[in-house]
């Protein structure tokens, strides 16, 4: 570092990389993330990419972004606004400027600003020249031409050379935040081990960016974000979808069952299929079905035959699976349905997040058909809730919906690797013959669940099906009294799950004026907002639900301690309506956002303060 520049220490910082879909921004962002994790920062990421694979180059539609917040303090969200934006072209600037803090730094590839390109991005005149960026600190760097110069003499075509410009940009970011290049250099060696020229080119571009930043005076200073105080242990980086896949694999191994995963490709759930398909040796069978219905039906068949049957989709696919989920509830077999929610209805916003499938998974089946619904709340705890979902579906012999979303699925964070011994025991209710005729709908007294009799077992041959069954014997029955008994039993069976899940925790004093209520992926922003307000002396607590149906049994007692609830969710108020129907005496207000985006901490704080 040259002498005149000084280093500024920050508690936390948000950096956002944005460029064309083909510019490698996701890779750039994840490299920055991993290097920061190795450095000991706490962090959270938010990839923001378009539904199109490669929309036309240079258009706003084709911009792909990656945001990460790093800190020496606990980080729960990827941050509301970026302190630094790295923008590879005018379109990236145009679509990402709204996410940059006023006064923030914007590093721009100045080579990309020509009349043709800024017009293509929708600018009338050159934003670098017309004064429209006065609120920001703009650092113009000729990234493309400098990359070309740095790579002169490498026997690669022009296109491959220009592709290395993301590494140049990453180099700038590494200098700016005082991170070592080692991890990425090592990564490049591995990634391009069969193409030494690409290792050379990308490494050179990375170094060139770093030294460029160090040398030019355009950058005022660099920043240090020291390591956070993190619980000791072994860590890895994990995304929500990966944690989900691994959680179910871990559960299957824990219960000594094969895992069967029936799935049909759909954004943003497909990565779960990709991940699981790698681990056949660990007893996972993946089945890419012909459609969503076949996917869930194959999983039900697998559960019937004695495996842990799991399927995954997003809203449009869950809608198609409804009838089959009803079948699994009727025949009282294990089944986990993962719903990685996205903006809707219909095709909606495939790559954007939303929490609007709550009503669908709670009520989207014919007749009275309750199921267990649980929602993880961070990318990494998708793992432990996947284990929990598997445990509940097997121990209670009824379907479980695992309600993830695009934000959790693609978001990532450091994760302390759990030991296998810490995972909960899973007790499988295998049917037993007690010298009597086998009764398929004989039930456990406490859980009301029936027992799992697996085809191939001698003496337990029995028939199940979607027609109403006589309790105990399982014979087809149209008896009116029996039907009522069975409908109530299926409901009571799900209700009793409340006895087997942890009580709800409150973050805060336990009583007061306003209780903020959330569920699922909004945890990070809600927690940050509430903590900041609590820190400022405000009387506000947070309750964040993972168990949505049934709710933890102390839920009502918690609610009774507050004057009013503010239920915050990324939909029109589905969970709020559910709570109102269960607790009509509780005063419930709601705060909703339906933009395909997570909450910002700032907007939450504003809303909460209004109520205080």
């Amino acid at each position: 570092m040259s002498g005149k520049q000084q280093s500024v220490e920050l508690e936390k910082v948000v950096i956002r990389f944005a460029g064309d879909s083909g510019d490698g921004m996701q890779l750039t962002g994840s490299q920055f993330t991993f290097t920061s994790a190795l450095l000991g920062n706490d962090l959270a990421t938010f990839p923001d990419f378009p539904a199109e694979i490669r929309a036309p180059q240079g258009t706003v539609e084709g911009v792909s972004g990656f945001q990460v917040q790093i800190g020496k303090i606990d980080i729960f969200t990827p941050g509301d606004e970026a302190d630094v934006l790295v923008s590879m072209n005018p379109a990236a600037l145009k679509s990402n400027l709204q996410w940059v803090r006023k006064g923030g730094n914007i590093i721009i590839d100045s080579d990309s600003f020509e009349e043709r390109t800024f017009k293509r991005a929708g600018y009338e005149s050159n934003p670098l020249e017309n004064g429209s960026l006065q609120a920001y600190h703009i650092i113009e760097a000729p990234i493309t031409s400098l990359t070309k110069t740095a790579l002169q003499g490498i026997a690669l075509d022009n296109k491959s050379i220009v592709r290395c410009k993301n590494m140049f940009a990453l180099g700038i970011a590494y200098w700016l935040f005082d991170r070592s290049m080692d991890q990425t250099l090592e990564f490049l060696q591995k990634k391009f081990k069969n193409a030494p020229l690409l290792v050379d080119a990308n490494s050179k571009a990375l170094r060139a960016g770093y030294y460029y930043a160090e040398t030019v005076e355009a950058l005022p200073s660099n920043y240090k974000v020291p390591a956070a105080k993190i619980n000791p242990g072994k860590y890895r980086h994990i995304s929500g979808n990966q944690a989900t896949a691994w959680g179910f694999m871990a559960a299957a191994e824990k219960m000594d069952k094969k895992m069967f995963f029936g799935s049909y490709p759909i954004t943003p759930a497909s990565d779960i299929l990709h991940e699981l398909s790698k681990y056949k040796n660990l007893g996972v069978t993946t089945f890419q079905a012909e459609d969503e219905i076949a996917a869930v039906c194959s999983a039900i068949g697998a559960s019937y035959a004695g495996a842990l049957g799991v399927t995954a989709s997003a809203g449009p696919g869950i809608a198609l699976k409804g009838e089959a989920i009803g079948l699994a509830a009727m025949v009282e077999l294990p089944l986990v349905v993962i719903d990685v929610q996205r903006g809707g209805p219909s095709t909606g916003l495939p790559t954007k997040t939303e929490q609007a499938d709550f009503n669908l998974v709670m009520f989207g089946r014919n007749s009275d058909c309750p199921v267990i619904v649980i929602a993880p709340n961070t990318p990494s705890n998708c793992f432990s809730f996947a284990v929990q979902a598997a445990k509940l579906t097997v121990e209670h012999m009824t379907p479980v919906i695992f309600l993830s979303d695009g934000y959790l699925a693609n978001g990532s964070e450091p994760w302390k690797i759990p030991s296998f011994a810490e995972l909960p025991e899973i007790n499988i209710p295998h049917a037993e013959l007690n010298g009597q005729d086998f009764q398929p709908y004989h039930r456990d007294e406490n859980k009301l669940s029936r027992y799992w009799a697996i085809p191939g077992t001698e003496g337990m041959e029995h028939r199940i099906g979607g027609l109403e069954k006589e309790n105990i014997t399982g014979n087809v029955s149209y008896d009116p009294g029996n039907h009522e008994l069975m409908v109530k039993t299926r409901q009571e069976k799900v209700n009793r799950v409340a006895e087997f899940i942890p009580e709800q925790k409150v973050i805060g004093s336990g009583s007061g004026k306003v209780l903020v209520v959330g569920w699922g992926s909004t945890y990070g922003s809600l927690l940050t907002a509430v903590k900041q307000l609590q820190h400022a002396g405000k009387e506000v607590d947070l309750v964040h639900f993972n168990y949505l149906n049934p709710l933890p049994k102390n839920t009502e007692a918690i609610f009774n301690q507050y004057e009013k609830l503010l239920v915050c969710e990324l939909n029109m108020g589905q969970f709020a309506a559910y709570l109102r129907s269960l607790f009509p005496h509780v005063k419930i207000e709601q705060y909703n956002k339906i933009q395909g985006l997570p909450f910002t901490v700032m907007e939450l704080k504003e809303k909460i303060i209004e109520l205080l």
């Binding site: 991993f34 190795l38 993190i230 619980n231 000791p232 242990g233 072994k234 860590y235 890895r236 691994w246 694999m249 871990a250 191994e253 094969k258 069967f260 029936g262 681990y279 056949k280 040796n281 660990l282 069978t285 089945f287 079905a289 012909e290 459609d291 219905i293 076949a294 996917a295 039906c297 194959s298 039900i300 068949g301 697998a302 559960s303 019937y304 035959a305 004695g306 495996a307 049957g309 009838e323 089959a324 025949v331 302390k416 690797i417 030991s419 296998f420 697996i454 085809p455 191939g456 077992t457 001698e458 003496g459 041959e461 029995h462 028939r463 199940i464 099906g465 979607g466 014979n475 087809v476």
Partner: protein, 346 residues
């Protein structure tokens, strides 16, 4: 290791039809063809080298789909059209089971058409019994995808205008490896085909021409009526000439790309001219011609029309599992969690 001879002998000679009969009252209409199919199945299973608990019957929705309730094996009555998907999950998770899917023409060819062709395409080792009565029975008499053009039903009072399609043609279009056709009036043939289909590795499709006595009575009359039986049923045997008729003097020969009916002794026709049935031929052309033949110009081909070998999805699944075990970097999930990029926080 000493081998116990009684354990290695899988056949349960003591199993009889009775062992496969459940205690449930059979609720099909009197005179329904399904009774004969049920009985033929209960006769077939004791002939197989399997234990009672190794059979799983999976059905969709419709009259046929009640079948599992009347068998005393494992059974699963699922939802409309989806039985192939459920059966696929069963077979892949528990590959030692003998899996039988019971379905009808509406269940398989209308609402479940997609699953039907994909199960056949994958060649999963399951047996599909398709009861084809060319009508919706359980919903009380609407047009089905195999109903003859012009059929008057409750939903088509002026006659059906949907062109029907054929299960066999679809199966071959989906690259099926086993297709047999039989009739509910021929219990012996049914039992024999069930036994043979069970032995076939891959998806076996058995079309059973079945009579719905209430809503589409005698729809197969052109083949099954006493006076038509001999002239309109061609019983195929692999390696045998395609002869039929009361005197076994009529036969099928190929004229260019088209089959034709000829009579031995007429116009110098001898047995030499008659096609020999080859169920094992990979090429689908002749099998397709046989499937398409129907009265009044041709006899209906019955028996095993096609039985060819191809890799099964379940075998390939097992192979990939074995291969991945050989090349595995870790043998359990915990090791996976610790693999790749990790770091220690002190």
């Amino acid at each position: 290791m000493a081998i116990n001879a009684t354990e290695t002998l899988h056949i349960n000679p003591q199993l009889t039809k009775k062992d496969f009969t459940s205690d449930q009252l059979v609720r099909w209409c009197p005179g329904c063809g399904d009774y004969a199919i049920l009985s033929a199945m209960q006769n077939a299973l004791p002939q197989l080298d399997l234990k009672k608990e190794d059979f799983a019957f999976i059905s969709g929705i419709g009259c046929a789909a009640r079948f599992p309730y009347y068998m005393s094996t494992y059974g699963f009555h699922t939802i409309h059209g989806r039985a192939p998907a459920v059966a696929s999950g069963v077979k892949l998770s528990n590959p030692d089971l003998s899996v039988w899917e019971i379905t009808g023409d509406g269940d398989s060819l209308a609402i479940g058409g997609n699953h039907f062709i994909h199960a056949i395409r994958r060649n999963i080792d399951i047996n599909i019994l398709l009861f084809n009565n060319e009508i919706y029975g359980l919903t009380k008499g609407q047009l089905s995808p195999t109903s003859k053009l012009g059929l008057v039903t409750k939903s088509t009072p002026m006659g059906g205008i949907d062109r029907p399609f054929s299960a066999g043609e679809l199966a071959l279009g989906a690259r099926g490896t086993f297709f047999a056709r039989t009739i509910d009036t021929n219990p012996k043939l049914m039992t024999r085909i069930f036994v043979e289909s069970s032995k076939h590795k891959g998806t076996s499709l058995i079309e059973i021409l079945q009579n719905c006595v209430i809503f589409n009575d005698k729809t197969h009359g052109a083949i099954t009526a006493k006076e038509n039986k001999d002239d309109f049923q061609l019983h195929l045997e692999h390696g045998e000439p395609m002869l039929f008729g009361k005197e076994k003097n009529k036969g099928i020969r190929l004229n260019g790309f088209k089959p034709e009916v000829v009579t031995l002794g007429e116009n110098g026709i001898t047995e030499e001219d008659i096609l020999i049935h080859d169920a094992h031929e990979e090429d689908i052309m002749l099998h397709m011609l046989l499937i398409q033949m129907q009265p009044p110009h041709f006899p209906m081909a019955l028996g095993i029309i096609r039985a060819v070998e191809a890799p099964t999805y379940d075998d390939l699944t097992r192979q990939q599992y074995e291969l991945s075990k050989e090349n595995a970097k870790f043998s359990n999930v915990e090791a996976l969690l610790h693999s790749g990029n990790t770091w220690e926080v002190k």
